[in-house]
């Protein structure tokens, strides 16, 4: 079973990465010449610099906010977490669009000065920082909620709440902090739509332009993807070194039953700061709703939206189901340290931290052939792409819950005569159902929000909603584009609500 799951992952994720090598030998030196000029390297430095800045900003705010949400007496912290987290599940492009309708020249609060600030590096940083800070907040919170209560209680006997937070909680969450830094960096460097929309040239845009834009030159796109390869290997190295199997407790939702750490005199200030951030995150979504309603975009929506929502839902649901199945097998194997599982876990992480243009270009190289058109020209290619990029979500969600589940349950099933498949289906799956559902839901939402991977290879006429939104933005009526963004938000909210209901039912 592990071999079968591993084969699927290798086909989906490793083959595209390896194919870059063969493609480069085919395209030859002419394509590589694109790297001799200074421009690609300027863009490369800009992209890595921007990613580093966004990562630093997300850590500075996300880590303390994560501690506050998980372990302090901040009022309404559960609701605050939801508000703050929700934008993470949306394509950042939707948020950029919202900020444009607020601070763009024609926006609700827009002036020349606000528009100039928004359309530039500061605007890109602002949008991506707000979009990705919840990664840090949530991973730190989940990690602290999964922490053994006795460790914290022992510290509280001898230390002040601030000392407990800084000397016990933060170090205990250090693998989650490291992972969040890697994830934010990887998401930022893959981001294509926000910089393009806000008129900032970045490296992924240069790759994208050579695959579908006016600079069409696929050989050069392969060459341009090269500098990103060492970067993704570096990210994988950091993940192995500082995170490894101590990964995020996605489904380790143990609740907030312990006594929270009192904030004391800092409570009003912390409350104001945290809630301000939560509400600011939602501002662009409210503005989009206003813009869509006022301009009649919502009424026009059915004419413009086409099959895009169904494409998103269908491809996302199928991919999430494949990811959850792979996650069950690979995540269980990783948690139980089965032979080969570490390598497969590393491969799934590599595919996630690899900047989307590399993976996208690799998928095109593998599947855009005359005899694979059944895959490449259909929704299957979206499923393959999502599985390649997001399998790690399912793997880590399952492995984090399996790690918390006693090995004796499985051993007693083996002693009772159950073979591996039966143990997996009758013991591991039911006992870790929340992790599997949590992994499925997260994977589904990640597929729904994906733009940067899908935009490179979506089949003609079958674009997902994110791509539809991105392509219509350039020449569609603004209110309709805002309505499409509202549709994306609604779709994501509905999927999340149903998923949370399913998680609650599975907890009974």
């Amino acid at each position: 079973m592990l071999v079968a799951a591993g084969t699927v992952l290798v086909l989906a994720a490793l083959l595209p990465l390896l194919s870059l090598v063969t493609e480069l030998s085919a395209t030859g030196r002419a394509a590589l010449a694109v790297l001799r000029g200074p421009r690609p390297w300027e863009l490369f430095l800009r992209s890595t610099g921007l990613s580093a800045l966004v990562t630093a900003g997300a850590l500075v705010v996300g880590v303390p906010l994560g501690v506050l949400i998980a372990r302090s007496d901040l009022p309404g912290r559960r609701m605050l977490w939801l508000l703050h987290l929700f934008p993470l599940f949306l394509p950042p492009f939707v948020l950029a669009l919202g900020w444009f309708h607020l601070f763009g020249r024609t926006g609700l609060l827009g002036t020349e000065a606000t528009a100039r600030t928004l359309f530039g590096g500061a605007g890109v940083f602002w949008v991506l920082w707000l979009a990705f800070t919840p990664v840090c907040t949530s991973l730190v919170s989940l990690s602290l909620l999964g922490l053994d209560a006795s460790l914290e209680e022992a510290a509280r006997l001898v230390g002040t709440p601030a000392r407990v937070a800084s000397r016990i909680l933060a170090p205990a969450a250090s693998p989650a902090i490291a992972l969040s830094a890697i994830v934010v960096f990887a998401l930022t460097i893959s981001e294509l739509a926000v910089p393009m929309f806000l008129r900032v040239d970045v490296f992924p845009a240069a790759v994208f332009a050579r695959l579908g834009g006016i600079d069409y030159a696929p050989g050069e796109a392969f060459a341009l993807a090269l500098p990103l390869v060492p970067l993704s290997l570096l990210l994988l190295f950091f993940e192995r070194r500082f995170v490894g199997p101590r990964s995020f407790a996605v489904a380790g939702l143990r609740g907030m039953s312990r006594d929270p750490l009192p904030l004391g005199p800092w409570r009003p200030v912390a409350t104001l700061a945290a809630w301000s951030l939560g509400l600011v995150s939602l501002a662009p979504l409210l503005v989009l709703l206003v813009r869509a309603t006022r301009g009649g975009g919502l009424q026009e929506l059915p004419r413009w939206v086409g099959r895009a929502p169904w494409t998103s839902l269908l491809s996302g649901a199928v991919a999430a189901t494949v990811i959850a199945t792979l996650g069950l097998v690979l995540g269980h194997a990783a948690a139980r340290r089965s032979r080969g599982a570490t390598a497969l876990d590393a491969l799934s992480m590599l595919a996630f931290v690899t900047p989307a243009p590399i993976l996208g270009v690799g998928l095109i190289a593998v599947w855009n052939r005359s005899w694979t058109q059944a895959v490449y020209a259909s929704l299957t290619i979206l499923v393959v792409g999502y599985v390649a990029r997001y399998t790690v979500v399912g793997v880590r969600a399952v492995s984090s819950v399996v790690l918390q589940s006693p090995l004796h349950f499985e051993e007693s099933a083996a002693v009772a005569g159950a073979r591996f498949s039966r143990r997996l289906a009758r013991v591991v799956l039911p006992l870790n159902l929340r992790g599997v559902i949590g992994g499925w839901l997260l994977a589904f939402v990640f597929c729904l929000r994906d733009l940067e991977t899908a935009v490179l290879f979506y089949p003609a006429g079958r674009e997902p909603l994110t791509v539809r939104l991105f392509t219509l933005e350039a020449n569609g009526p603004p209110s309709v584009v805002a309505a499409l963004a509202v549709a994306q938000v609604t779709l994501t909210g509905a999927v999340l609500a149903l998923g949370v209901l399913a998680l609650r039912r599975s907890a009974r």
């Binding site: 006693p406 004796h408 349950f409 051993e411 007693s412 002693v415 009772a416 005569g417 159950a418 006992l431």
Partner: protein
Amino acid sequence: MTAAIALEHVSLSFGAGPVLDDLSLEVEPGELLALLGPSGSGKTSVLRLVLGFLAPATGAVRLNGETVTLDGRIIRPPEERGVGMVFQDLALWPHLTVAGNLEFGLASRGLPRSDRSGRIRDMLSRVGLEARARRYPGELSGGERQRVAIARALVLEPRAVLLDEPLSNLDAPLRRELMVLLFQLLKERRVPGLYVTHDIREGASLGDRIAVLESGRIVQEGSLDRLRTAPATAFVRGVMEDLP
């Protein structure tokens, strides 16, 4: 006579030090051997070797004469060994009812549904839990859970049963009651057993014979009298002095 369980010159190490060092041990058919030893002596590792969850670097494990593990190679996986086990933490599957916990192994071994329900009913009635068949482990008392774990191990009619300090978390009266039940069940079915404990009283009450494990080696084995009259090590002397 062929031993029901035999470990022959078994050596096992984790990281730096050896866990088991050239250990040999036999449990005869129908015999209940108490394996006594301090914490960290390697008792649980012995059980995991017999079950097939661990393979020794060298040595062999045989069940009724059949070699199931040899020199680091697991020849028969755990699910094919036909050995029952009562875990220290019981490891009752929380998502299955009492009957479901017993039924799981029977179904895994391909028993027809009609045979399964009969065997489950008989076993539950023998341990006094017939009325609890549809309850979940979380709805039972500590003693009832213990009975389910014992019933789950025995309903499979195993060729041997391993018990890893299954009574260690119970109060004294309940422990005594369950020791009697366990002893009766094993003897009436003539199932050989290996009972791991660090409590000499439990070992002496249940075991036909006692083997003492220290630092990965069997330092003494025999009857309680023999251990009492000629203790081989300071540890054995110490535990004997604890006995009334």
